[in-house]
Structures are given as structure tokens and as C-alpha cells.
């Protein structure tokens, strides 16, 4: 079952997504339509003619309220501590992505992929801790794992492709959700 407020947060992170993407993210393909319709009945979301899912003004207000409460509750504690441990891992991943994109074609893929497995192995235990506080982070964990499974099957597009629910896309959405939960701005 998809939690109402989790769906509100997700639609803020991925405005315009299709019902199908909601089903995939929450690992509940059959529940997506019902969860969305329940929110629509409350006037929080709507769907465009092309089937894109959006928050309405009251949905956006709900989303801000949710994050505000969360930021206050998380102000000092395991979610903040984990985020501080995440920052160097995040930099390592961004550096890895650049190395991957600029590598000479086809050469040395395996050692480079081994580095990514190490980065992921550092990240997942941190996320285990965050998921205990904020259970929806389990969805982010699964999105990362699903992308890596595709990569292991030889579909390297699932590493960085911005048009897929790739490892990079999942990482970005996770990072954004985390920042919002802490009431912080992205630093670029």
C-alpha cells in the first residue's frame, strides 16, 4: 500500500511522472492508480491529458508542511548524522560518474564498476539507518539496487542515463528528498 504523504513527496520530486513510474518506485504497480485517485479526490493532485501526474496548489502546500515538520523533527539526530557521512560518499560518486563518462571507450570498465560497487556498499548501510527513521527511504534503496541489477545484466545505460530510472537518477532523487527532509538547500 502506498502511503498518502509519501506519494505527495514523490510527486514533488518527480513532477509530471506517469502512474506507471509511481508503481515502479513504490514497488506496488497495482496500487498506484488507487493511491493517486484518493489524493485526487482530496484535490491534492491532478493528471494532465497526457497522463502526467502533478501536485495541485493544495498538494504543494501539503508537501511543504510535511517537509517543514520533518526538518524540525530531524534537526539533530541520526538523519543529520547520516547525511554528514553521506556528503563525502556523494562527492566520490560524482567523481566516479565523471571518470566513467570520460573513460576511453570500452577500456577498463570492470575495475571502474568495482569502484562503484564499493561506493554503493558504503552508502547502503547509511540508508539502512535513515530508513529506520524515515521508512520511505527504503524505496530509494530499492531504486538504487534495481538500477545496479540492470547494470550487472550488462545494461550500462542504467548507470547514468538521465532518461531512465538509472542509478544516477535514483541517487539524485534520494539526495533531493534527504535535503528537503533536513530543510537544506542544494550546494552546487
Amino acid at each position: 500500500v502506498i502511503e498518502r504523504d509519501d506519494l505527495v513527496r514523490y510527486l514533488g520530486l518527480q513532477p509530471g511522472c506517469q502512474l506507471e513510474a509511481i508503481g515502479v518506485f513504490f514497488g506496488a504497480p497495482d496500487d498506484a492508480a488507487a493511491a493517486f485517485e484518493a489524493l485526487a479526490a482530496e484535490g491534492m493532485v491532478r493528471q494532465t491529458a497526457r497522463g502526467m501526474c502533478l501536485l495541485t496548489d493544495s498538494g504543494r502546500a501539503r508537501r511543504e508542511e510535511l517537509y517543514r515538520a520533518e526538518a524540525a523533527a530531524c534537526a539533530a539526530g541520526p538523519v543529520v548524522e547520516a547525511y554528514e557521512a553521506f556528503e563525502p560518499i556523494n562527492l566520490a560518486f560524482l567523481g566516479w560518474a565523471t571518470t566513467w563518462q570520460t573513460r576511453p571507450s570500452g577500456e577498463g570498465d570492470q575495475p571502474l564498476l568495482a569502484q562503484l560497487w564499493e561506493i554503493d556498499a558504503e552508502l547502503q548501510p547509511l540508508l539502512d539507518g535513515v530508513s529506520r527513521e524515515l521508512p520511505r527511504f527504503g524505496y530509494h534503496q530499492r531504486a538504487l539496487v534495481d538500477a545496479l541489477k540492470r547494470v550487472e545484466a550488462g545494461e550500462n545505460d542504467w548507470l547514468l542515463s538521465p532518461a531512465k530510472a538509472s542509478y544516477h537518477t535514483a541517487w539524485f532523487i534520494l539526495h533531493q528528498d534527504w535535503l528537503e527532509a533536513l530543510g537544506r538547500e542544494r550546494e552546487d
Binding site: 491529458a49 538521465p162 537518477t169
Partner: protein, 502 residues
């Protein structure tokens, strides 16, 4: 490395890192025997040393020890020109910044430095009050906008204050933020160019302009550019006046025009690239004030590369290496006519070719909402994965930041979405629903057009047309076929170009 100022005529292209591109280009032009006003340049190291001494509390003023350098260089300039700063006959100079990389927030130019009351009186005897008053307005307006106050009375104080303003502008918050975003070194520093003024506003046989050695839109072998009679350069660049096509110079001052055409050809041979030249005519005499490699539209890049190879100006492999498959495709796609492209509001890097018009929107959500009624062009500071669905419904995309491999460019190419990235003159405020390019404001819903092949944004709706490809496309095909056999990198590149021609 010398810390000291050097006369422009001693500088060469190899001095670029220390003295900046502007001074190095002027030095090269002097060495070619071209008419360039005399002057001197301070190296970037002078700026760095000044700031180090200031930061360490070892200097009373920011200029500090640099004053001695200026004194020595000025004495040499006075003997070269036979004029004296603050003396008789008066030497009047411009002061310009010259960072190795141009950046927003940096001071640009202070004109007519040395125009004291005595100098004004002296020049007025020769050239009249009206002219001198115009020059003095030029000094006060450029000084105010650069240094934030009134110019001092004494000529040497004016010069020192102008140079200090250049040093200071190195650390404006905007320039610092730009360097941080670009990963540019804080200790790169800026050079300073001090150069004898020539007066485009002197009389009816004077003026100022910018000229390209070939047409930067089409690559055609004609001088193209703009010229304004009776004006100084700053008014021109500042957009305060509407200049006329450079052909107007041919009618008004035919001798200066033919000298300019000769100089453009000389510079092109020397730099082996189309040149973008700033010039001033003073009482019929031509002076060159700057030259740099021109930014070319894709068609012009293709045409000039092939033409220059045929002219023997560059080798065939150099011609091919100047072209990319991306650029070749952009030439063959339908595009906007060049007279429309000249109306561009701003420009950035061409990331994915094609022309698209629609209502401007500044967030993915608004793109999705508005796209239910009409076509939209998404304009963002930069894009992130959260913008993906907005990109899916947009007809075109434009970002203020980012390079050829940024998120927006990668996704746009994936979606075949006309896209321009890195329009750095633009500031986007998604919250307020506006984008600003200088004083031009785009509001949500305004009709705009992006031309991803040329990297430009225009106001209004414009339609692309399919042009006949320039004949140089055949020349390119022939060259690339010859290079296929070369194998290695060159052969691979030639094959990619041929594929793009299909």
C-alpha cells in the same frame, strides 16, 4: 617572469598568459606593422601581488608598489608619443582590463583618462568645445560606472585610480562567484592595458566599429560588421546608438575602408582564423583596437574551414579537425535565416540542433501544465533529473548554466530536443517566473524561439526554413573521403563527418 609593465610593441601571442589576450593581440598587430595606438600593459602578476600585499596588510593602498611600474612605463609611452600625461601636448589614454579568460562582473573600460581641466582647455583650442565636453562626459561616465565615484582632478591620479579599479573589479562578488562556478583559479589575476586614446568622435571623418574578416553567419568572403560615424567605442558596445552596416564606411571613408580590408586579410593570414576586429577611425586615419578569433555560426565554420583549406591558409587535416559531426548536422538541418538570427536576445552553447517556438516557462511543473494548452519552451538555471518530465513536454530547452556535457545537453540529445545551454548573460528566477538578459525581461507565457544549432534565443515565433546546403559541403565530403584512408584518429573523425553528411 617579469613583474613589470611592458610596452605593447614588445608583447607577442606567447605573452597571453601573463599579459592577457587583449595585450598579446595588440602586440601581434604592432609586430605585423598594423596601425595600433601605442600603450603598455601590466601583467596579471601585478594584480596578484597587489592583492597579496593588501591581504597581508603590507600595503597602504591596493596599488602599492605597482605605482613605480606605472611611472616607468608611462615615461616610455610619453617618449614614444611625444605627449605628456597632465602636460602639454596632453596624453589621453584608455584603461582596460585583460583577464586571460573574460568573465562577468569585471571592469571593462575607462575612456579619456588624463582629461584634466588644463588638458580640456588645450584640446578645445584645437578641436572645439563640443568635442572636448563629449570626451569629458565619456571620462566621467566610464569612471563612475567602473570606480563608483568622480575622477580625481590630477591626470596621474586619474590613471592610478583607473588601474586600481581594474584590480578591484577582480574581486567583485560576481567575478568571484563566476570563477568558483567555473573552477577558475583565484590567483589567475587580470592584466591591465593602458593605451593612447584615438577619437572616433573627433569629426565627420571619424567613427568606430566592429568588423569580421568574413561573414560570421554564412562564412562568405566579405567584410561584415557595423560602423557608427562620429562615435567612441564605448557608446557603440553599450548599445546606446544604432550602428550601420560596415559598408557605410566604404561610402563615407573609402580609404580607411580599403586599409581596414587589407588589415583584416593580414590578420586572417597571421592567425589562420576568421578575425573579429574592433577599430576606430580618427580624422580619416584607421586604428585597430582589438582582434580575436571570431565566434562562427555552424554554416560559417564549415564554409570557412573548407575555403581556407582551398586557399592554402590551413591544411586539410586542420580543416577537418575544426569540424564536428554535431556541427555538420546543424548546417544541414532547417534553420533560421541569418537576418532573423541577428535579432538574437542572447546566446549560449549549441547543445542539440533544431528550431522550436513556444511559450516561455521556468519550471518543469509549469511546463507540464501550460503544455496542455500550447507549445512551451522550458528555460531553467540548469536542469536536474526532477526536470525530466518537463523536458518531455517541451518543444525546446534553454539553460543559463552548463557546458556541452551537462544534464540538459545530455538529455536533450537523447530526446532530440532543440537545446541551448550556458546562456551566461541570462538570469533565471523560477520563483518569480521571469528571466532577465540585461534589461530585457522574459515573462512566463511570452513567445520565444530557441535555435539549438546556432545556440541562440529569440523573442517571438520564428519558423525554420530548409536552405540549400553551401557548395563547401561537397568540398568537405571530398576531403573527408581522402582522409578515410588515413586510419587512426584522423580516419575515424573523417568517417564520423561523412556519416553526419548522410
Amino acid at each position: 617572469v617579469s613583474l613589470h609593465a611592458r610596452p605593447l610593441n614588445e608583447l607577442r601571442a606567447s605573452d597571453r598568459a601573463q599579459f592577457g589576450g587583449k595585450a598579446a593581440g595588440l602586440g601581434e598587430m604592432l609586430a605585423l606593422g598594423l596601425p595600433v595606438p601605442q600603450g603598455f600593459a601590466l601583467p596579471v602578476q601585478a594584480c596578484n601581488e597587489a592583492w597579496s600585499a593588501w591581504d597581508a596588510g603590507a600595503a597602504q593602498t591596493l596599488l602599492g608598489e605597482t605605482r613605480r611600474d606605472i611611472t616607468a612605463a608611462l615615461a616610455e609611452l610619453e617618449s614614444q608619443t611625444g605627449l605628456r600625461l597632465g602636460g602639454e601636448p596632453p596624453l589621453i589614454v584608455s584603461v582596460r582590463s585583460g583577464a586571460p579568460v573574460s568573465m562577468p562582473g569585471m571592469m571593462d573600460t575607462i575612456l579619456n583618462v588624463g582629461l584634466t581641466p588644463a588638458a580640456c582647455a588645450s584640446l578645445a583650442q584645437r578641436w572645439g568645445d563640443e568635442f572636448v565636453q563629449g570626451c569629458h562626459r565619456g571620462l566621467t561616465s566610464t569612471f563612475r560606472s567602473a570606480a563608483g565615484g568622480e575622477p580625481p582632478e590630477a591626470a596621474r591620479d586619474q590613471l592610478d585610480a583607473a588601474i586600481e579599479a581594474v584590480f578591484r573589479s577582480w574581486r567583485t562578488p560576481r567575478a568571484v562567484a563566476y570563477r568558483r562556478a567555473k573552477g577558475l583559479a583565484e590567483n589567475m589575476g587580470t592584466a591591465v592595458v593602458v593605451q593612447q586614446m584615438v577619437f572616433g568622435n573627433l569629426d565627420r571623418r571619424s567613427g568606430t566599429g566592429v568588423v569580421f574578416s568574413r561573414d560570421p553567419s554564412t562564412g562568405e568572403r566579405v567584410l561584415s560588421g557595423e560602423f557608427a560615424l562620429g562615435r567612441q567605442g564605448e557608446e557603440f558596445v553599450g548599445g546606446e546608438i544604432t550602428p550601420r552596416p560596415v559598408a557605410a564606411l566604404e561610402v563615407a571613408l573609402p580609404e580607411a575602408f580599403s586599409e581596414l580590408a587589407g588589415a583584416a586579410a593580414t590578420l586572417e593570414r597571421h592567425f589562420r582564423a576568421v578575425q573579429d576586429i574592433e577599430f576606430t577611425v580618427e580624422s580619416g586615419a584607421l586604428y585597430l583596437l582589438q582582434t580575436r578569433d571570431a565566434k562562427l555560426a555552424p554554416a560559417a565554420a564549415l564554409v570557412t574551414a573548407i575555403d581556407m583549406a582551398e586557399e592554402g591558409l590551413i591544411d586539410a587535416d586542420e580543416a577537418l579537425s575544426r569540424l564536428t559531426p554535431h556541427l555538420v548536422r546543424a548546417v544541414l538541418l532547417p534553420g533560421l535565416p541569418s537576418e532573423i538570427r541577428r535579432q538574437a536576445l542572447c546566446s549560449g552553447l549549441p547543445a542539440c540542433p533544431g528550431v522550436a517556438s513556444g511559450a516561455a516557462v521556468f519550471s518543469a511543473e509549469r511546463a507540464i501544465e501550460l503544455s496542455e494548452e500550447r507549445e512551451v519552451v522550458l528555460i531553467r538555471p540548469e536542469t536536474t533529473p526532477a526536470d525530466l518530465n518537463g523536458m518531455l513536454v517541451a518543444s525546446g530547452l534553454l539553460t543559463a548554466r552548463g557546458g556541452a556535457t551537462c544534464h540538459a545537453a545530455v538529455v536533450a540529445r537523447d530526446l532530440n530536443l532543440p537545446c541551448v545551454v550556458g546562456c551566461e548573460e541570462m538570469e533565471v528566477d523560477p520563483g518569480a517566473g521571469v528571466a532577465a538578459i540585461g534589461s530585457d525581461i522574459i515573462h512566463e507565457g511570452d513567445e520565444v524561439t530557441v535555435d539549438g544549432g546556432h545556440g541562440i534565443l529569440l523573442v517571438g515565433r520564428h519558423t525554420a526554413t530548409q536552405f540549400d546546403p553551401p557548395p563547401q559541403v561537397e568540398g568537405l565530403r571530398k576531403l573527408a573521403r581522402e582522409w578515410l584512408q588515413a586510419g587512426g584518429e584522423a580516419g575515424h573523425h573523417a568517417r564520423q563527418l561523412l556519416e553526419a553528411l548522410e
